[in-house]
């Protein structure tokens, strides 16, 4: 009797597990495939209705932005995948590889035709920056650094004027 019970249990478990295995032929899923949303990612650069959310998949954004004015790529030593840089005249878009897809790593504004969502652009005064982002974010040397969610927004000053605006993904 005991033996039979053991048999039944073993067969049952084997059957359950086989079911799992039989359908387990696919590839491993990639972790972190979830798409960060604008709500949780903090400061976000918007260009002609295109939101550039840090760590989000780059392909859809690149599609709406159209052809870049210039493009460079860089491989890191020994690793596969390329860090890519797209230049759109008024800003640079950087991506980094994550498995098979590219994700947005950085956006750097280059001239005063574009502005942050809060309205700061290159050449703006220190007072204007502080009135919008507050004086607390000043790093004491030359920049305002705002961390929120997955994004850090850095506003570099030169002679009390904004000289560079950079959105970058935050990695821990």
């Amino acid at each position: 009797m005991k033996k039979r019970m053991i048999c039944v249990m073993v067969c049952l478990m084997a059957a359950i597990c086989l079911l799992f295995c039989a359908c387990g032929g696919g590839k491993d899923s990639k972790e972190g495939s979830t798409q960060p949303s604008a709500e949780t990612s903090g400061h976000t650069f918007v260009y002609k209705d295109t939101k550039m959310v840090m760590k989000a998949e780059a392909a859809p954004v690149l599609a709406t932005l159209g052809d870049a004015k210039s493009y460079t790529e860089a491989a890191s030593c020994a690793f596969d995948g390329l860090d890519k840089t797209y230049y759109y005249g008024s800003f640079y878009l950087y991506t980094y590889p994550d498995g098979d897809i590219d994700r947005i790593n950085m956006v750097v504004l280059c001239d005063d035709t574009v502005a942050t969502a809060e309205g700061i652009s290159i050449g703006d005064s220190k007072d204007k920056v502080e009135s919008i982002y507050g004086a607390d974010s000043y790093n004491g040397v030359n920049a305002y650094v705002l961390n929120s969610g997955e994004t850090s927004l850095t506003i570099i000053m030169e002679n009390d004027q904004v000289s560079s605006i950079q959105y970058a993904a935050v990695f821990d």
Binding site: Y71, T72, I156
Partner: protein, 356 residues
């Protein structure tokens, strides 16, 4: 009856240990067909001894200078102790180790290493961990290796097993049981030579297209740790009566800012060191970004590396007084065979490229 037990136990323990080391050898990545960068550190020990010049640094040295060319043209014997994303403290410990094996006249250090101050500097900690392994795994065991490991580990490495992952690499690579391939059996106890005295040959051509953006940075200053190890390397060379030369390889990315240049120049001046920024001598060297790079200007291919060696070899023999060793019969025989290997490799790679 009782007496027999202990021999059996001892034999069992021995078998277990043998099995353990066999499995460990099997599971360690071999770096023979992919990521050959991981096999470079091990190769040094075959080329150790009798080198007049030692290069230390990351891919900007092992991709950009061809020792064989320097031998052919100037009779300079040199070796590259390079590895991917070599951090400056790793460079230091490799250098200190190198002095145990030879007494070079010149040590050349590529200053890109000054950009990375902590194991976190490159951002992605799992990548850093992979780079650590490639630089540290095949170093021979000594106090220096332990020090280098302790200086290099990422937070995650420290948390999950720490140095034990290096002492018993199987603890790190045990998950590879599912990825074991023919290569792992083939190279259980030996490795093929993947470099020519530390130079990793690339024959591909991928021209530079656009300029790399020079976006302003918040902070251009090199970190304290970097200066600390640069000082240590300089002093170490002094102690070994050896010239310490700084170079910046002709790579377009990562972007080399003027602010970086100023800091290196003032350091070199302060300590009376030679410093060459090859980015400023591209025309003299003859680098053509349409033919001499395999990855859009990040690294030179073999054609670029030969030009680079030819240019720098001149400097080494004239300004640093490195001797021409082509009169030495034994060395000549050795380097002739190295040259042959080099030429064969080049021919083979070029043929493979043709087929593609």
């Amino acid at each position: 009856m009782k007496k027999r037990v202990f021999p059996i136990i001892i034999i069992t323990v021995l078998i277990t240990a043998a099995l353990f080391f066999f499995l460990q050898a099997l599971l360690i990545p071999k770096h023979m067909s992919e990521t050959k960068e991981g096999a470079m550190i091990r190769e040094y020990y075959k080329n150790a001894g009798g080198n007049e010049v030692v290069f230390i640094g990351d891919c900007e040295v092992y991709e950009n200078f061809s020792p064989v060319t320097m031998w052919e043209e100037y009779g300079i014997t040199s070796v590259i102790r390079g590895s991917a994303q070599q951090m400056i403290w790793q460079s230091y410990y490799l250098l200190e180790e190198t002095f145990k094996y030879e007494t070079p006249d010149v040590v050349v250090f590529n200053v890109l290493g000054m950009l990375y101050d902590t194991p976190k500097s490159i951002g992605d900690s799992s990548k850093q961990e992979a780079y650590n392994r490639m630089t540290l795994d095949d170093m021979r065991w000594s106090k220096l290796k332990i020090q280098s490991i302790n200086a290099s580990m990422t937070d995650e490495e420290r948390e999950k097993g720490g140095i034990w992952n290096y002492i018993f690499p199987i603890l790190r690579y045990h998950d590879r049981w599912n990825d074991i391939s023919k290569e792992d059996f083939q190279y259980l106890f030996h490795r093929d030579q993947v470099t020519d005295n530390g130079y990793l040959m690339q024959v591909g051509v991928n021209p530079v297209k656009d300029e790399y953006p020079r976006i302003p940075l918040v902070n251009y200053e090199f970190g304290d740790t970097c200066y600390e190890y640069l000082d240590k390397m300089r002093i170490l060379c002094e102690e070994h009566d050896c010239q310490f030369v700084l170079v910046k390889a002709p790579s377009l990315s990562p972007v080399w800012y003027d602010e970086y240049e100023e800091q290196v120049e003032s350091y070199a001046e302060e300590h009376n060191l030679l410093y060459f920024n090859f980015l400023e001598h591209l025309d003299e060297i003859g680098i053509d970004w349409n033919t001499d790079t395999y990855d859009q200007g990040l690294h030179l291919n073999v054609y670029g590396a030969e030009k680079m060696a030819s240019y720098f070899g001149q400097i080494l023999s004239v300004e640093c007084g490195v001797e021409d060793k082509r009169q030495d019969v034994a060395l000549t025989a050795l380097w002739e065979s190295k040259t042959e290997t080099y030429q064969q490799r080049k021919a083979k790679l070029e043929a493979e490229k043709q087929e593609e």
